[in-house]
């Protein structure tokens, strides 16, 4: 029996595994992708200080460390069920058989929210994250010319990555408003999100000044005055007053139908036209991937600040089920750096229970929790402006449940 099984070999899972191995715990890490790294693998962006955040390199560093500690990491294993037999005895059901452990860490990360547009099942339509992995991890071009539907923090960052790799993007625009796409189809709401990444766009945005004038420029972008030709970010137009109503094609994507829209997202009659593309990326943002937390019976809270339904947990990454821990994007959508720091916290929490007489573990755990906060405050990409409040709410939920 393992001391701990970690589900997910992303930044959270790997850093937790490293910490657990440092305290000599018997660890197994499983992941269903072909290589470790999770969503970190595809990430590639320039930090405000000019340095590149290269997910492949970051993963390699984690893996080197994990390997130097002889960590058992197995890819191509899909967990579909977690079972609690008794206190500190869990079974992980996978496509490669069952594994048993005294503790579980669920670090399954995030999935992409669908923002369906008619025609979205055609081959050539994919999530923006799919294009990211194809481009940066597999190094395969997703098409000759494409369009991004959905303007948000994630899609702007990945659109930039596609450009870097020489993939031709026509533009980014909104999905037409329907019962599912509401939030993503409203220009004013999308603008709020865009303002949070203004400081990441070197060319166009920086001409208007540094961080200090950022809000000034964003005001200029006010949806009512949003230019017809869009605002260019890295030379690519971002349209908030145009929406895709349909993706067309017989056996594959051939074109998209586009309308001009009002500041409230309503289609303007007579503005319909077609744009020829051979691929389409749909970007609806991320939500915590938490099915495994649900099947083992963890309680959930819906917190918009954290990106959706998250399993109840505390700062130590403990859950109301003794022996079950969570870390990374399953606890709320944040950057890979935060996930990595949370993994260390989870690893120390697990080690604390199994290593007797090491008083400084308490101190290290406190330090690691502080580190998560520091990294959160310094984050270049804020997925949600009120993330800290969301974190406080989930902490309160944990206290309510544990003390009742």
């Amino acid at each position: 029996m393992y001391d701990v099984i970690i589900v997910g070999a992303g930044p959270a899972g790997l850093s937790a595994a490293i910490t657990c191995r440092e305290w000599d715990l018997h660890v197994l890490v499983i992941d269903e992708f072909v290589k470790p790294g999770g969503r970190l693998l595809g990430q590639l962006h320039e930090e405000p200080n000019g340095e590149w955040w290269n997910g492949i390199e970051e993963t390699k560093q984690l893996m080197d460390k994990a390997e130097s500690l002889n960590t058992d990491i197995r890819c191509g294993i899909s967990a579909h069920h977690l079972e609690k037999v008794k206190d500190h005895h869990f079974i992980v059901h996978t496509n490669k058989g069952n594994f048993e452990a005294k503790n579980l860490l669920i670090a399954t990360g995030a999935a992409e929210t669908a923002a369906p547009v008619p025609g979205w099942t055609l081959p050539g339509v994919m999530s923006i994250g799919a294009a990211q992995v194809m481009t940066n991890v597999h190094r395969v071009r997703v098409g000759e010319k494409g369009i991004v539907i959905g303007v948000n923090v994630l899609s702007a960052a990945i659109a930039r990555e596609l450009q870097l790799a020489g993939v031709n993007l026509h533009s980014m625009m909104l999905p037409a408003m329907n019962s599912v796409t509401k939030e993503h189809a409203h220009p004013k709401k999308v603008m709020d999100g865009l303002s949070r990444i203004a400081h990441l766009a070197p060319s166009a945005f920086l001409r208007f000044g540094s961080r200090f004038t950022k809000s000034d420029f964003v005001r200029k972008l006010a949806t009512q005055f949003y230019p017809k030709s869009g605002v260019k970010m890295w030379g690519m137009p971002i349209h908030l007053r145009k929406a895709v109503t349909e993706i067309n094609g017989k056996d594959r994507v051939e074109s998209v139908t586009v309308f001009d829209i009002t500041a409230d997202g309503k289609l303007i009659k007579g503005t319909e036209r077609r744009i020829e593309v051979d691929f389409v990326c749909i970007a609806g943002g991320l939500y915590p991937l938490a099915e495994l937390a649900a099947v083992i019976g963890l309680p959930f809270q819906y917190l918009e600040e954290l990106g959706g339904h998250v399993p109840v947990h505390n700062k130590k990454m403990e859950t109301p089920i003794d022996g079950v821990y969570v870390a990374g994007n399953i606890t709320g959508i944040e950057s890979a750096k935060v996930a990595r720091a949370q993994g260390t916290v989870a690893g120390l929490s697990i080690a604390k229970k199994h290593v007797d007489g090491k008083a400084d573990l308490d101190y290290r755990l406190l330090k690691a929790i502080e580190q998560v906060k520091t990294i959160r405050n310094e984050a270049t990409i804020q997925f949600h402006p009120h993330i800290s409040e969301g974190r406080e709410k989930i902490e309160q939920a944990f206290r309510r449940i544990v003390h009742s």
Binding site: F33, S78, P123, G124, S127, G129, V133, H138, R139, D251
Partner: protein, 132 residues
Amino acid sequence: MTNNRRIVDHPVLGKLSDRKEITFTYDGQTYTGYEGDTIASALLANGVRTLRVHEESGKPRGIYCNIGHCFECRVTVNNETGVRACLTEIKDQMVVESGRVLPSPLASTEHDTLPRTYAEFVKQQEEEKGEV
């Protein structure tokens, strides 16, 4: 194998290192990919987007999420059905087949005669009683 679908040179990630070439078949046709490719990436690099058709409607489908969440890329690999092309590493001599239309034994053949609403059901029942 060279084609312009591979991103060989990347300004930040660098040049693709030489990888071992692998041969596999997809729906009977032979393709080449590289060691480390998934079925999905190897096929896309060969210009193949359609990985299956919808089991009932026959409409074409390809990758959607590319990391195993959506199950849109189900193919048959060495006779094992329902394998996710985006999560499966391509192996030399692998036999990959696209997902096909399946028979629907439970599909109704009596569209015209079956009641569509409860009201129609009641009416039909009454008519049948009347006949008896």
